[in-house]
């Protein structure tokens, strides 16, 4: 089932002389896990802002074409309505968290929806359990590490039970283990809860083996779009740099060794090498 559709979408911010999105056409199915990448200023954030109506409702500019999310045209749908269906998590959780405890933070959006007290309690407990936040539920967000803060930001969005989750570089300020932990949580949300995920990230190597689809943007256009193993060697990928294991695969291929699909992780490459030499473990 189609959950998001962009039809001939062009958007130019007020005061700019060039559009940030240029005739974008894309369809996203329910349950997809999309890695959206591209150089700074390519239009990724603009794309994301259209999904929850921040554009055109808060950012001024000229919007052409149609963006539809769950059958709602974002132009005619108030952002509070879209917020129930499309959750957003940003790079810097500090800007998103402002209450005195994790519990209150998670309950905040639900209170705004006007849900009954019992239902709020139930949902807060549910996400705290699901994300393993029991031991920090009473803490204030500023007492938490960056990784914990991002988990709380995800929790408060998750409590709204959105169908779509948009994350704009959520691990940019985290250390490697915390990043990996967060990406594993996001992967679980996709696999277990069937939430459609759109994740913006520069470091492909952390995500290629997790996502179902890779979208590369450049100068306001989507220039590469498909399952990672099919598109990762497209010439356009040079602008974002391909992960090192794929570089090794590519060099071996050019030297005449056939390994099948490009590897999406070191584990993939190691397996492929073992297959070729007939040494299985």
């Amino acid at each position: 089932m189609k959950i998001i559709e962009f039809k001939n979408v062009t958007f130019m911010y007020r005061g700019n002389s060039e559009p940030s999105l240029l005739n974008v056409n894309v369809e996203i199915e329910r349950g997809e896990f999309i890695l959206l990448t591209g150089p700074s200023g390519c239009g990724k954030s603009t794309f994301c802002r259209l999904l929850n109506g921040l554009i055109p409702h808060f950012y001024g500019g000229e919007l052409k074409g149609e963006v539809t999310v769950l059958g709602m045209n974002v132009k005619n749908t108030p952002t509070y309505e879209l917020a129930r269906h499309v959750g957003m998590v940003f790079q810097d959780p500090e800007n998103q968290l402002f209450l005195s405890s994790v519990e209150k933070e998670i309950a905040f959006g639900l209170e705004n929806l006007g849900l009954p007290r019992e239902e709020i309690k139930r949902r807060v407990n549910q996400v705290i359990k699901y994300l393993g936040l029991e031991n920090i539920r009473e803490k204030a967000p500023y007492e938490l590490s960056g990784g914990q803060q991002q988990k709380v930001a995800i929790a408060s969005v998750l409590a709204m039970q959105p169908e779509v989750l948009v994350l704009d570089e959520p691990t940019a300020n985290l250390d490697p283990y915390s990043s990996l932990e967060l990406l594993n949580i996001i992967t679980r949300l996709n696999r277990e809860l069937k939430i459609t995920i759109i994740l913006v990230e520069h470091r492909l190597e952390m995500l290629l083996d997790k996502v179902s689809r890779l979208m590369l943007m450049d100068k306001g256009k989507i220039v590469v779009d498909g399952p990672p193993q099919d598109v990762v060697l497209s010439p356009e990928m040079k602008i974002v740099g391909i992960p090192k294991v794929i570089e090794v695969y590519d060099r071996l291929k050019k030297a005449g060794y056939e390994f099948g699909h490009p590897p999406l992780s070191p584990e993939d490459l190691a397996k492929a090498v073992r297959r070729v030499i007939g040494f299985h473990d």
């Binding site: 700074s40 490697p176 283990y177 520069h202 060099r251 070191p266 090498v273 030499i277």
Partner: protein, 277 residues
């Protein structure tokens, strides 16, 4: 040979705590002129606290820090700043001027450079960081990545001897990371001493002669990138992940790929050898 080179930073038995929370617990370190060093470790390991001692922002609670022979307890931040440039992780902690150009001019004027020199240095730094086209814009209209580059430009403009970058590649795209790598090469050829605090293992792999790893306020590893990034014990203790190539080498070590393989072309050669055998 190496021992003849001037020591620019000397840390002896350094302890530091915020309130009663110990952050540095006995750090010893010598850095020589011209070294290009990565300091790695998880968030909270003490990396940022350590480098804030190098320009006098923090003073030792115990032990000592000497920078260019000056004991930092006897020097002001202003004195040390002329020789030690620190680029913060969050650019908003250091940007404040009305325009991009004025931002870079500020430090230069502050250090008393002549107008002629100020102009030239501003041009040089803005061009180097790809910001010349934004010269009349307010820093706060720039993207995070651009603001980060502006913070770098302001520090480079006054040509400090020791330059410290806190997480320069965080949130930067591929092209900007390549630019930062080129910048490192430029600083290398100018004989500068450079310290980068980072947990970007892919960026550090093959680029830094010396990698220092911190965990819980102590240095737990100090060596070449090949030694450190292929040492699973140190990486695990510091909660760092190995670079992709090293990870792959570990997975193939039982069939003859050395565990300290680090460059893609090296791994290609080793895999070819294994297949042909």
């Amino acid at each position: 040979m190496v021992s003849m080179t001037e020591i620019v930073v000397e840390v002896k038995d350094l302890y530091y705590s915020y309130n009663s929370q110990p952050v540095l617990q006995g750090v010893n370190l010598k850095i020589r002129r011209g070294e290009i060093i990565a300091i790695m470790g998880e968030n909270g390991a003490g990396k940022t606290t350590l480098i804030k001692h190098f320009n006098g922002l923090l003073k030792p609670k115990r032990g000592s820090v000497k920078v260019f022979g000056i004991d930092t307890r006897n020097a002001s931040v202003a004195e040390l700043s002329r020789k030690v440039g620190l680029v913060f992780q969050n650019p908003d902690h250091q940007l404040f001027a009305e325009t991009v150009e004025k931002e870079v001019e500020f430090a230069l004027r502050n250090f008393g450079f002549e107008e002629e020199v100020v102009k030239k240095r501003v041009e040089w730094a803005l061009n180097l960081m790809g910001l010349a086209k934004y010269r009349n814009r307010s820093p706060f209209t720039l993207s995070v990545g651009e603001r980060k580059r502006l913070a770098i430009a302001s520090v480079l403009s006054y040509d400090p001897e020791l330059i410290i970058f806190d997480e320069p590649t965080a949130g930067q795209d591929f092209l900007q990371k390549e630019r930062i790598a080129e910048l490192l090469n430029l600083l290398r050829t100018r004989g500068k001493t450079v310290i980068i605090v980072t947990h970007d293992v892919e960026f550090v792999a093959t680029r830094f002669e010396r990698v220092i790893v911190m965990s819980q306020g102590k240095i737990i590893g100090d060596g070449s990138f090949r030694e450190i990034l292929s040492n699973s014990e140190i990486l695990e203790k510091a909660r760092l992940l190995p670079p992709q190539i090293v990870k792959c080498a570990w997975l193939l070590s039982d069939i003859g790929v050395p565990r300290d393989t680090l460059y893609p072309e090296e791994l290609v050669r080793k895999i070819e050898e294994v297949i042909r055998r």
